[in-house]
Subunit: 342 residues, 2 copies
DNA sequence: TTGTAAGCGTTATCAT
DNA sequence: ATGATAACGCTTACAA
């Protein structure tokens, strides 16, 4: 459809190389020639062919966003749209594109790894929400594919962006403690995800700081889904906690339903704090006190860091300052009615 | 990193073409040769280089999912994750990949159109949630880029997948009518989106069918956001409707907050029906009666249709039956407590 | 059945 | 400053 470099060259009466130089803004072109070529480009409607360019440069300007199978149950969380939006915005800003890979099975993950990752179509990947034990990112790194993780990763060599789940959870629980609650329970997130583990860790830290003994029975395991929130709350109810720190807003909403059905009131009978500050935190009654994390910024930063690394691999020696490879973004407590006013 | 076809050929003691044939499962290869080559492939860890292949075949096996700027305010709706999941699943099934393009401005849209769409990196695109007047899809079609729309599109030449918004809305309102409500208001969605327009159309149809005169004051304009739901309901409240059909669950939740704040009860004082059956429909109290649309299937079908078209353009003359180019998937009324039990 | 060779549209090196 | 020319790794007539 679009003419090739060669055809433009003919029109302008120069060589293909010269046209290429003009297209790529190389300095060494006489401005007369440049003008002539630009005219020919306009006239012919020339568009550079990205695939050909990629073959020659070994760069596609496409990075992958990879989300493993296991989170499929919580994929409707606003978390993912926000992450994607942050990531695509950073991509756009640098004229990169984002390829989305979701897996519904480990087999698919492997198949995709082979077919897409090792085949040169991606300049790098960001891996989000992978459970502990998922080897995708370390495999990629080992295979020399630039990669970054979203969430905390234990492996030294893995760069990542995370939000301060521990600090956020601790903040939330300490807030409850300050408010005078004594019997503070928690419904945890998936323990195979760093976010789930860290939010539990934050809960434990807060108790420890305030010398409150940890009662294991007050720790109900959840998996971030709303229904696991209802299950968790049902287990907790007979133990009569006066407050519950729930590791996600979805679960908190499930928990509040159970409380309501038991004819108890939030926060009068049981105070609730969630995590995420998702839009639904405002939809429930009473509005949910929750911990906000900068999801969009996490997506954006992950891409920025990845790209800075890619540029570092390019010819031009580091134009920007090298970004560090581990970033933990602060979380923030958003106080609403569900935790009481003290 | 990975060896080339040529190197594999050397190892196997055959020509590059033969290796290519084996890689691509061409029939005319002696099985001995095939075995020899396969061994060489295994031994050498050969991976076909997608970019090179794309240059030769003029196919990338990548399709774009394009979502225009304007929906950015409702992007956290579960709608988008579900759509993306459906789309990526269909892609995976055919060994295609999905490239995600979100725009935050019309300029970005144009820039991306030029840079990505016209430059050969995409075999086709699916455009979702574009407002009336957005020319991206027609432009693509005009430029010979296979494309499909999600939502209804007025232009004859534009293939699309939509859900039955009109029917769903009509069903919802007729349900309210059957339940005995007389003064049924509506909060509309964005009228520049076909879904918003069609849901209003369905509301009007239901009234017409039951010979209920349309009271324009009972039609409150919304834009699908929760806050527009609260605004709409505030306008409606003084008019004392006994039921409201709200064109999205998010808006319905906003509306319910207003009702609650006015010390009125759902459904006793005002019945509410939403649209989407998003997870939050279950989070509110009382649970929301709503119209379910098969979002994930829409994403999947859009991709299927697009790919069937792409194959049709390939060498092999139509292996599957040609899929029609306009599909409207059925919606379904999910009755819960918010509309009363009659 | 297999090999030869001509593309695909760029970039990049090396002369000039 | 510009032009040849050799890659980049693959597919695909066409020949043998």
């Amino acid at each position: 459809m679009s003419p090739t470099l060669e055809e433009v060259a003919q029109i302008a009466g120069v060589s293909r190389s010269t046209v290429s130089r003009v297209v790529n803004d190389h300095p060494n072109v006489r401005s007369e020639t440049r003008a002539k070529v630009q005219e020919a480009i306009r006239e012919s409607g020339y568009r550079p062919h990205s695939v050909a360019r990629s073959l020659a440069t070994n760069r596609t300007r496409i990075i992958g966003m990879v989300i493993p199978e296991s989170v499929t149950t919580i994929f409707t969380d606003p978390y993912f749209p926000l992450l994607l939006r942050g990531a695509t915005e950073s991509c756009s800003a640098h004229q990169y594109q984002l390829l989305l890979s979701l897996f519904t099975s480990r087999d698919e993950e492997n198949e995709m790894y082979e077919r897409v990752l090792l085949n040169g179509y991606l300049d790098g990947i960001v891996v989000s929400s992978a459970p502990r034990g998922d080897t995708l990112i370390t495999r990629a790194l080992d295979d020399g594919i630039p990669a970054i993780f979203i969430g905390r990763h234990p492996d030294q060599s893995v760069p990542y962006v995370d939000s301060d789940n521990i600090g956020g959870a601790r903040m939330a629980v300490e807030h409850l403690i300050r408010l005078g609650y004594h019997r503070i329970a928690t419904i945890t997130g998936r323990q195979d995800l760093s976010s789930g583990k860290d939010r539990l860790e934050g809960y434990q830290q807060a108790l420890r700081i305030h010398a409150i003994p940890l009662d294991e029975r007050l720790v109900a395991p959840g998996d971030f889904t709303q229904s696991s929130g209802t299950d968790g709350m049902r287990k907790l109810l007979p133990l009569r906690p006066d407050a519950v720190f729930v590791a996600s807003d979805s679960m908190a909403i499930g928990a509040m339903k159970v409380i309501r059905e038991a004819d108890l009131r939030v926060p009068d009978d049981i105070a609730i704090v969630g995590f995420d500050d998702s839009p639904s935190a405002l939809a429930v009654e009473p509005p949910l006190t929750t911990v906000r994390q900068p999801i969009e910024r996490m997506g954006a930063m992950a891409v920025e860091i990845l790209l800075s690394r890619l540029d570092g691999m390019g010819r031009e020696p580091g134009q920007g300052p090298a970004l560090t490879n581990r970033v933990v973004l602060p979380t923030e407590l958003v106080v609403r009615a569900s935790c009481g006013i003290g």
